[in-house]
């Protein structure tokens, strides 16, 4: 920021410790279909925003929500912050320009499975490998909702939709696996109908320095109702999902009686705790710089395995903005007192006298 810009910003009238969730609700009534999972995500995010602002010392005016195109991408209109509803798949590109030029902002990218993995796949990959300091919320409903029901890159093989009446013939992408392969430094999964988990994950994502991507299983009750019901519904969740927490054993089940282990060929298995030795219980390591375990966990899916939720990976690494600005600092130290007149005259010059 130039000095002129800095001087023009007035002091915030509310301290970062004093926000309420209502401060984050805009005057626009959400227009998602009744029963859409997006309402829950909006509610949980608004609920944790005050704590995010307090914990990270971020005033509300420094929050920016950038979205692409899709039902997910209507999100910014309902948040009383700076928001930009941009073009399909390209939110990470706007975030790149914004964050590099204004690294003090907290930028959220709101996207969907089509927006981020179909048209936007390239930008997502590059955003993550740069470790741009953005929080990416990927609302995965395994369908194209806004355009009324075509299959998406995360729809299961054989999915019958308006554009695939005979069933989709491409295998789906796994967003968590893609994120890990792109070297994302924070990768997590949450579910729209598990508010407690969602809040926890959102808080951690907000506190992470670098790219934080959260896949949120979101139910589209109009075009793909029940896509996650087999494991996401409250009554089956304990048996069909495993909560990932750094340092905690990969134990699940209503009675906490089952575990996920990997054999010596790195093949996963579900075992009864009673049948194994305590020392064989695998503890989750989210902080390892080697993403192999996180990747292996990302491959677990219903029905053979419990679906992992929570934080797959959380590692520290310099952010893109830090690296860029460090180069500016270093370059200025090497060549101080740079002057525009000098620069203009730096080429092949000569003087014509009177």
């Amino acid at each position: 920021m130039s000095e002129a810009q800095v001087l023009q910003i007035q002091d915030s009238s509310i301290g970062v410790q004093d926000y309420q969730k209502e401060d984050f609700a805009s005057d626009q009534t959400p227009r998602w279909c009744p029963g859409c999972g997006d309402y829950s995500i909006l509610a949980q995010l608004q609920r944790v925003m005050p704590q995010i602002c307090a914990d990270t010392n971020t005033p509300k005016e420094n929050m920016v929500f950038i979205s692409g195109i899709g039902c997910s991408s209507r999100f910014p209109y309902y948040m009383n912050t700076y928001g930009f509803h941009s073009i399909h798949g390209r939110a990470p590109t706007l975030a790149l320009g914004l964050q590099v030029s204004r690294p003090e902002l907290m930028t959220w990218v709101i996207t969907g499975d089509g927006d981020s993995l179909s048209i936007g796949g390239n930008h997502l990959m590059h955003c993550l490998r740069r470790n741009l300091n953005v929080k990416i919320l990927l609302f995965n409903n395994r369908i194209y909702g806004l355009t009324k029901g075509q299959y998406s890159p995360t729809s299961e093989l054989g999915k019958r939709t308006k554009s695939s009446p005979l069933g989709s013939v491409a295998r789906p992408l796994n967003p968590i696996s893609i994120a890990l392969a792109s070297q994302a430094t924070f990768v997590a999964r949450a579910i729209d109908r598990d508010p407690k988990l969602l809040q926890e994950v959102l808080l951690q994502a907000a506190q992470h320095k670098g790219s934080a991507i959260v896949e949120i299983y979101q139910n589209c009750n109009i075009f793909n109702d029940g896509a996650f019901a087999d494991f996401a519904e409250k009554k089956v969740r304990a048996e069909q999902t495993v909560k990932l927490q750094h340092g905690q054993p990969l134990v699940f089940g209503k009675q906490k009686d089952k575990a996920v282990v990997f054999d010596k060929n790195l093949q996963p298995q579900v075992v009864n705790l009673a049948d194994i030795d305590e020392t064989d219980i695998l503890k989750h390591d989210a902080h390892s710089h080697n993403p192999a375990l996180s990747y292996a966990l990302s491959q677990l899916d219903y029905p053979e395995f419990p679906v992992p939720v929570g934080v797959f990976r959380a590692v520290e690494a310099p952010t893109y903005e830090q690296r860029v600005h460090q180069q500016v600092v270093d370059a200025k130290a090497q060549q101080p007192n740079a002057d525009l007149q000098q620069l203009l005259e730096a080429g092949d010059t000569w003087t014509v006298s009177e």
Partner: protein
Amino acid sequence: MSQAPTPLSQVIIRFAGDSGDGIQATGAMFSHDSAVLGHDISTLPDFPAEIRAPAGTIAGLSSFQLNFSSRRVHTPGDAPDVLVAMNPAAVKAHLKDLVPGGTVILNEDAFTEQNLKLAGLEQDPREDGTLDAYRVHKAPVTTMTAEALKELALTPQQALLCKNMYTLGLVCWLFDRDTAFVEELINARFGKKAPVLLQANTLALHAGYNFAETTEMFDSRYRVEKAELPPGRYRRISGNTATALGLVAAAQTSQRQLMYCTYPITPASDILHELAKLRHMGVIAGQTEDEIAAMGAAVGAAYGGSLAVTGTSGPGVALKSEAIGLAVMTELPVVIINVQRGGPSTGLPTKTEQADLLQAMYGRNGECPLVVVAPESPGDCFTMAMEACRLAMKYMTPVFFLSDGYIANGSEPWQVPDVKQLPYIVKANHTDVDNFQAYQRDPETLARPWAVPGTPGLEHRIGGLEKENGSGNVNQEPQNHELMVHLREQKIAGIADDISELEVHGKPKGRLLVLGWGGTAGAIRAAVEEAWAKGLDVSCAHLRYINPFPKNLGEVLSNFDQVLIPEINQGQLRLLVRAKYLVDAVGLNKVQGQPFNTAEISAKIQQCLSENLPQTAA
């Protein structure tokens, strides 16, 4: 031996050889030398798209033409007076352009059977009469270079790379110059990093010079005197460098961070390379993953309050169109540089063209107006880059800056401005909380406020959906949409009151006006001046603002019986002028990946004047 050199007022020299022979470096050094000696210069580099096309072939040729003169020059010249041909392919491809009786300087060592074959020649042009009509000078460049450098610790290949310096030595002697300044250039390039190369190139340079002096290979020498340029500090500058410097100057004078977001593409990449060196001046020039990301990043940066610029060529503009539309709808300032090249599609990456005008005007869905400006010469790229930035920020709009390969890579002397005299444009961000709506408009400019994230109390949402005027809320109502379409159009049209009027060179009224835009300025000017020398009734004018047009354009056009529009396209400006002013303008259209020859425009001027008798013969 020491005859006085023959005075000449102008020389056009073309160096041609393999693209691995250092032709561009030779040409650039000789041009620089000429400029420092006080000549007016104009250059035309011409190189193939491939990095290293097969040596010895026509496809592998690279050439560099320089016009240096004691008078003002406007173009690199139609036809060279001197051709320096490093191999048979160079003779085959370039001899036809040489003036009758012109001079050919050959590297005779390159005329081997193999090279003749690679060039597709059945016979040796030195023997079969091809060169009879020219003055031919031969030099054993390859063997002499190897000989001169034999004591140095270089591989044979490295030694032979210095052939171009040997040739430069010959040429320096021919034009009665000492080698001192070229030695300085060699030292600047190699002195620190590679002392052995410094030595090698210097030895080769001297060897060539001495060979010319000692062997009487040339029967005379020539001398061109200094030109009369207005006093001041000058530098030789190419269009791409001038563009980069103009952006840096605009950032400083507007006190904003320059964010240059781009993807490499010929012929625009050099702008990135120039700006990437300027981290120490706080310039952030970044390479994104693709063209679309470059425009998206520019939009994001503009949203955050930076001076956001992206640079590309035709294919990149095609990719960016949706994101440009977003910038128009969100009314954000972004400068989009298109260094035009031959199209369509991948086209001719290293050849010049100006066929992207209609793309700039209309290449987006919907009614999507924006500003279009076009520099007319390498030095003008500086001025128009600053102008593009000024208009973008003042009117909160994307601005297209249409350069082309010819002026981007060509160079000319440029008078360095005094930074203290540059106009300072400080446009403030909006901070007034009590008086804010995202799409309220300044009554004079129709621009909306620049309210950037981080400003307390101004939280709002923008995006690509149609907006309600004033509030900026998403709005699909029929009347509002039409109003917004009109307002976006009026905002751009109103800029005509804020730009300079069109200047006419020559009489303000007459039989014929030659109207151009972009890189054709030099050739048009030269042709019209030639016509004046013949007493012909013709004037010229050159548009640097194309959308909106200068407000006096209609009046200017009406003052002439005929309007001729030479363009390196099929008539794109002509289409715009005809549509807006209902003037029956005539075109001269050449689409060969080459700039106009002065002669081509002169011929057309004569044709227009002879075919069209004056309306009132009474």
